[in-house]
Amino acid sequence: MAMPHLSARLDTKGSPYLYVLPFFLLFGAFGLFPLIYTGYVSFNDWNLLDAGEHRWVGLANYSELFHDAYFWNALGNTLSIWVLSTVPQLLAALWIAHLLNHRLRARTGLRMGVLLPNITSIVAVTIVFTQMFGRDFGMVNWLIGLTGIGPIDWQASTWSSHLAISTIVMWRWTGYNALIYLASMQAIPHDLYEAAELDGASSFQQFRRITVPMLRPTIIFTTVISTIGGLQIMAEPLLFAGTSTPTGGSDRQFQTIALFMYEQGFREFRFGYASAIAWTLCLIIAVFAIVNFLLTRRIANDEK
């Protein structure tokens, strides 16, 4: 008698939880648990080679980190590469999406094409770009040599290495962001443009006054996602160094925080210290994502 009643209640109340359960199980196992465990490890002096030998040291790893010149160096490099790659990348993506939104020949082909860089292997891409930015026989140096500018040792100085690494990041992610912009551009009602045209708005005015404000949620999304990705860059600077030493160049001129973490964890085997770096990086990313969210929301508001 109570049975159908109970099963019906379970069906409506219980089954939604059942549907979302797989995600939370996976997130718990591969997201939450490592996060908390890393936090625990970061309060220990933990040598990876010593078969898990460890000692509780409280906040010692964090205070060492704040006095570590190489950490601040890595933070500066990360921010510089992030700005150099993210800002032009998002602007270019917006422009490419705007172009793709028009009636073009081979439109589907072009739309698929912009995604290609994103699905190629990051290792392969970096190796190719590293060769292009080679000092003696690189294509980039050959090209700028035609204009009479002397060969640049791209790895040697801070600005040139950041520029080269940012180029790799941009090449990989611009198309991806362009597709996201394109998708939400197509959701903008066409009447708006027609009305604007009747009022005599130019193409650029339409883009500025209609497209950009209507894309506001998408712009916020891509900015936050690019911030998270940009602050975690590791494979590009690691492979750019040529000999895959994790110090990011002879003077750590392009060592990012993620690479610094890798160096401490898997060359020095200081598991505790590397975990403290990981948690600090996580907090930095959270702060930047929030600031970016607030900033982009305001800018898009002004546009209206």
Partner: protein
């Protein structure tokens, strides 16, 4: 053998190691056993595997190759996490002491082959409590490989005895010849490849290197370390360096493009040159090294305990490093045996290499190996080498003066010791 074959293999090999490392067939009677051999660079084992497999029909051998630094970092990680290592892992001289410190992770290979080996080669892989973690493969020895044709074009003597004699007085003479070369150098060539590689050769000749025999780092206090630094800095400042970083893709390219006329040449470097500079066969030659015998590199085969087929792996490692196989690897690859009884065999002592203009490499390297004064290596030797190399690269890149770079190098090495 401490060179990378190709960077691309680095990441691929990491994946392969994780995927296949603990794999392999089910052991037991009659079933096929797959042995995973993880190496860096070219050990020259391909033919030997085939030979071994046909003699042992139940064994299959898979080799995984990664770049030098990646390989050793991966191995340390696999040891730390307790899984993923190959059944046989190659370890270079620069990293054997680090592995020796965690010797309990490796199969004890016993003492029955002790009498075969060079004593210092045997000692370097022996743990404190007397367990042997690796069978020696090759030793480096040291010579100088040089391009005859470039020497001729620069108006220098090209005959190997004349070249050896020209710098027999020591590294200062080597630099002097380098300055003469640079004055009339063919366009686009420098005298040697890069500061880091030259440094390894020079410090390899000192009686004491980065470590004293009680296992403490003496980089800041050992005058030999600074002496070698000053010498290399002088070479860089005299514009003799092609400024290529050893093992980088650009360095590999430098062989093919002929960007340098000489290179410090342990025996394994000959295999590297043959691989990378195919079009210059017969134009390379080998001369004696200035400053007396020394060693740079050379490797071991180890058997991590975490492997599934330890007994079979041990047997294969022993076979690959047995005298006959080491002798064969010298004539085919140029890898100098670590078993001194072979040095007097006519097929080795009398071996001449046509790639190097029929240079008597057998005589050159066995003589050098016999004179070699062993140097104590500590756990961070490999990383100290890299740190010093970076210091010299900073000077090559014009970022710092010698003193600035030296101070930073010393403090970086202190960090390593933490």
């Amino acid at each position: 053998m401490r060179f990378s074959r190709a960077l691309a293999t680095a990441a691929a090999a990491t994946l392969l190691l994780t995927a296949c490392g603990s794999g392999g067939g089910e052991s037991g009677d009659g079933a096929t056993v797959t042995l995973n051999v993880s190496l860096f660079g070219n050990f020259g084992y391909q033919e030997l595997y085939k030979q071994y497999e046909s003699a042992h029909p139940n064994i299959k051998i898979k080799e995984h190759t990664a770049a030098y630094n990646d390989h050793h970092r991966d191995l340390a990680t696999h040891l730390a996490t307790g899984s993923g290592a190959g059944d046989i892992e190659g370890v270079d001289m620069g990293f054997i002491a680090q592995m020796r410190e965690v010797g309990q992770q490796f199969t004890d290979l016993g003492t029955d082959r002790q009498s075969e080996y060079l004593p210092w080669k045997w000692q370097a892989s022996l743990t404190k409590d007397g367990k042997q973690i690796g069978y020696g493969t090759d030793v480096g020895g040291l010579a100088i490989c040089y391009r005859r044709d470039l020497f001729q074009q620069a108006g220098l003597p090209a005959d190997r005895d004349a070249v050896s004699a020209a710098w027999a007085g020591g590294w200062d003479k080597y630099l002097e010849l380098g300055k003469q070369y640079t004055a009339k150098a063919p366009k686009g060539t420098a005298f040697f490849d890069g500061g880091g590689a030259l440094y390894n050769a020079v410090i390899g000749q000192a009686p004491e290197g980065f470590y004293s025999s009680d296992n403490t780092i003496v980089v800041a206090t050992n005058p030999e370390v600074r002496k070698a630094w000053d010498l290399v800095v002088q070479a860089i400042q005299s514009n003799l360096s092609a400024k290529l970083i050893e093992s980088s893709p650009e360095w590999n390219n430098g062989f093919a493009k002929g960007q340098f006329a000489t290179i410090a040449c342990p025996a394994w470097m000959m295999a590297k040159i043959k691989d990378q500079a195919k079009s210059f066969a017969g134009k390379w030659d080998v001369a004696a090294v200035p400053g007396g015998g020394g060693n740079w590199g050379g490797s071991y085969l180890t058997v991590p305990k975490q492997g599934k087929h330890v007994a079979e792996a041990k047997e294969l490692a022993a076979w690959l490093t047995a005298p006959e196989q080491q002798a064969r690897n010298f004539t085919s690859q140029g890898l100098l045996p670590s078993i001194p009884a072979l040095y007097d065999k006519p097929e080795i002592a009398g071996y001449k290499d046509p790639f190097f203009n029929d240079a008597p490499v057998g005589k050159l390297f066995t003589t050098a190996a016999k004179e070699l004064k062993p140097q104590y290596q500590g756990p961070r030797t490999g990383d100290i080498q890299t740190t010093i190399r970076d210091g010299l690269v900073r000077i090559e890149q014009g970022k710092q003066t010698s003193d600035q770079s030296w101070q930073q190098t010393v403090s970086d090495v202190e960090r390593l010791a933490k």
